[in-house]
Each structure stands twice: as C-alpha cells, then as structure tokens.
C-alpha cells in the first residue's frame, strides 16, 4: 500500500494551489484512466486533486457560434445535452460512443483531453473542429495543444477548465472500435468550417491524434465522400500491433473518413 492525500477544492484557484504544493500531485477528473492505473500501482501520486467539487465546471453553453463545454462535463452529459445536440450533433454522438455506460457516467471531457490517449475519441473532435483548450492560465489552440502520444502543451500545474468549439456548418465522426476495449482502432472526425475542411484521425497514428492534410484539401474543394477517392494517409506513421498492421489502419482511415463525411450533419 502507499498513501495518497485526497483534496477536494471548491475552486480552480484552490485546485492549482493544492497541485503546486504537492510533491507528486495528480488531477482527478472522472478517474477512468488514473484510478485503474493507481489500483495496479503503476502510478502512486502523493496527492490527488479532485475537481468534482468545483461548481460550474460541468457547464455547457452555446453563444455567438461557439459551444463551450466545461472540463468536468461527463461523456453522458455531453451525449444527452440538448445544447450540444443542436449545435454540434457529431460531438454528442461521439460522446455517446465512448467506452461503455460506466465510463461515460464517470469520465470527463477535460480528463480525456488532458490524458491524450492515442486511441481516445475526444482529441479527434478537439483537433477536427479546431477547438480552443481553456486552462486556468491561458487559451491554447488545438493545433498547438496535442504534442504526441500522451503529451500535451499543458504545464505541470495547469488545469483544463473548458473546451471552446467553434460551431461548424457540418461535422461527422465515425470510428472502428476495438471490439473488446471500445477504444478507436481508427476514428475520423471531419468538419466543414469557415476556414475549409478539417480532418482529424485518432487511434491510428504512432504520435496520437493528427490531421490528414491530403484529405482536408480534397474535402475543401468538395465536401462529399467521393472527393476522398485517392486521398490517403501514409502507413509509415501508423500504429502496428496485434489488433492491426499499419497498412490495415491506413486503409481504415480512408474508409472511416468517407463514412464520417456521409454521416456529417
């Protein structure tokens, strides 16, 4: 056994203070990755800073073409939110397909984005929509936020407070889930935005979520599945494991991208 000190701050400032005074502190969102890791003794933080006592952290609102989701919003909240369903239906659909009901009832958007698991769903939406990650100290554009597998631009004692999604004219998300874990083997988020088409791929890349530029160019001229004929991703940067080879994943990216465009609303 090891000892962990549990903190339940009532404000973001208190949370940051608790985190910075801890020797080896960790932020606890919904705990769907961190707690299993701790149970296995693969992590043993000295302090846990639970964000669930902070009022308003799970607020969801839409105004002036921007959908703002508090970092503490659980996947089930986002999936069921009338505001999200109206503003960006693809995002509600994505949230409703994460993991299983138990994970969706506990896991949070902030936790998922901060963890940046290379097979998580949310990073594809954040990057695919060109969202902005809001922290206690600054705002970070999605393009600058994800820095490779499990790494982000977040500082040591920085906490995500909300994600701001610009509302696209249409967007779609399709994934090929691993049948056992429901993690995306390949997940593709496509969006038609004011700045052209964006395509973000999760589950497939060795460095986590990435943008498929060739596909973005094809879709910017014509936002339909047929435009993606011949637009591919290079298999050299793809993950290869017992579930699928790099070539298989590269092929799946094209298939999922077309389905995502077909499903876009």
């Amino acid at each position: 056994m090891y000892q962990t000190k549990y903190h339940k701050p009532a404000s973001v400032d208190e949370a940051v203070a608790a985190l910075s005074s801890a020797e080896d502190g960790k932020v606890l969102g919904g705990g769907q990755t961190l707690l299993p890791t701790m149970k296995q003794h693969l992590a043993a933080p000295t302090d846990l800073v639970d964000l669930r006592g902070i009022a308003g952290m799970d607020a969801i609102s839409a105004a002036d073409g921007v959908l703002t989701i508090g970092a503490g919003a659980r996947h089930a909240d986002v999936a069921a939110s009338a505001t999200v369903r109206e503003a960006i239906p693809a995002l509600a659909c994505l949230a409703g397909g994460i993991g299983d009901p138990a994970v969706r009832s506990m896991g949070t958007i902030g936790g998922s984005v901060a963890n940046n698991d290379p097979a998580a769903d949310y990073p594809a939406a954040v990057l695919g929509l060109g969202a902005t990650v809001v922290t206690n100290s600054r705002e970070i554009a999605a393009d600058d936020f994800f820095e490779g597998m499990f790494s982000t631009a977040l500082g040591e004692d920085e906490i995500i407070t909300a994600i701001k999604f610009p509302i696209p004219s249409s967007a779609g998300y399709t994934k090929f889930p691993n049948p056992a874990s429901r993690y995306a083997m390949v997940g593709v988020f496509v969006a038609q935005t004011g700045g052209g088409a964006r395509v973000a791929v999760t589950g497939a890349g060795q460095d986590g979520v990435f943008r498929a530029e060739m596909m973005e160019n094809a879709l910017s001229s014509s936002f339909e599945a047929g435009a993606l004929d011949g637009a591919t991703v290079d298999s050299r940067g793809m993950l290869s494991d017992i579930h699928g080879t790099a070539e298989y994943r590269a092929h799946l990216v094209s298939v999922m991208a077309k389905r995502a465009v077909d499903s876009a609303v």
């Binding site: 080896d24 490779g148 494991d241």
Partner: protein
C-alpha cells in the same frame, strides 16, 4: 519487439565513439535517467524514471557494453526492474560508419517488457519504445554535435 533506425551525426567517428562510452553523455541522453554510475569500463548501474501518460515507473538496473570493436561498433545490453510495474530488458547493436566529416549511426534494438506493464500496456509498448529510442538518439546527436 524489434526496432531500428539511422542517425547522421555531424562529428567524426572517434568523437562519436568516445561519447558512446562516456557515462556522463549517456546519462544526459537516456530519457528520464536519474543516475548512471560507471562500475567498470564496460559496466554501469542506472536509475531511470519513465512517465507515459498516467503511468509512472522507476527502473533500476544494469547496463553492459559488449562486443566492443572501437571505434566502429558495440552492443549495449541492459536489464531493469521496475518494482510492481514489471521489468524491461533489451539490447541494441550500434554501428558507426564514416561519411566524410560526418558519422552515420545505425542501430537495431530489441526489447522485452514483462509484468503488469506488459499486460496493461501491450497496445503501447512498441510505440513507446520507438519514441524512447528516438529521443535517446536525438539527444545523443545533439549532445555530440553541440
């Protein structure tokens, strides 16, 4: 699991060879290295902290240099225990080739991970190993060139 790669380092073979045998340089370049002590010309003990996503494990182990063919090639083998997290062992064959004023470094490495780390992290072991190897040789190229 096998990995390989090639790096071009802007220094001559003798300089690169000396750096490959210098515990201080190696300690600077091994990602997460907290301690590297030389026990003999070819043996070292190391403490390395690995942080990958939520997982944090501290390995302590031994590193040995074998099949030395100065200044062109050697093998580096190591084994580390990470407490409850499991163990890791592996080795790399490193070859240096002169190319004008520069040196081409080729490596082929194999690594095995066992214990809980392997059970839970199997989908990530290969890409993590590749990333760590890349970081090491990247740091090494910079250390030697700088």
């Amino acid at each position: 699991m096998d990995l390989s790669g090639q790096y071009r380092i802007p220094a001559d073979v003798a300089t690169v060879w000396a750096a490959l045998n210098n515990a201080e340089v190696l300690a600077q370049c091994i990602p997460g290295c907290e301690e590297l002590e030389k026990d003999s010309d070819t043996e070292m003990t190391a403490k390395v902290a690995l942080k990958i996503g939520p997982v944090k494990a501290r390995f302590s182990g031994r590193v040995e240099l074998q099949d030395l063919n100065p200044p062109y090639s050697y093998s580096i083998v190591g084994e580390g225990k990470g407490g409850v997290a499991g163990f890791a062992k592996g080795g790399a064959d490193v070859t240096l080739t002169e190319d004008g004023a520069e040196t081409v470094l080729d490596y082929t490495a194999n690594a095995q991970v066992g214990g809980k780390l392997a059970q839970l992290g199997s989908r990530l072991v290969k890409s993590t190993s590749a990333k760590l190897a890349d970081q090491f040789f990247d740091n090494f190229s910079k250390a030697v060139a700088g």
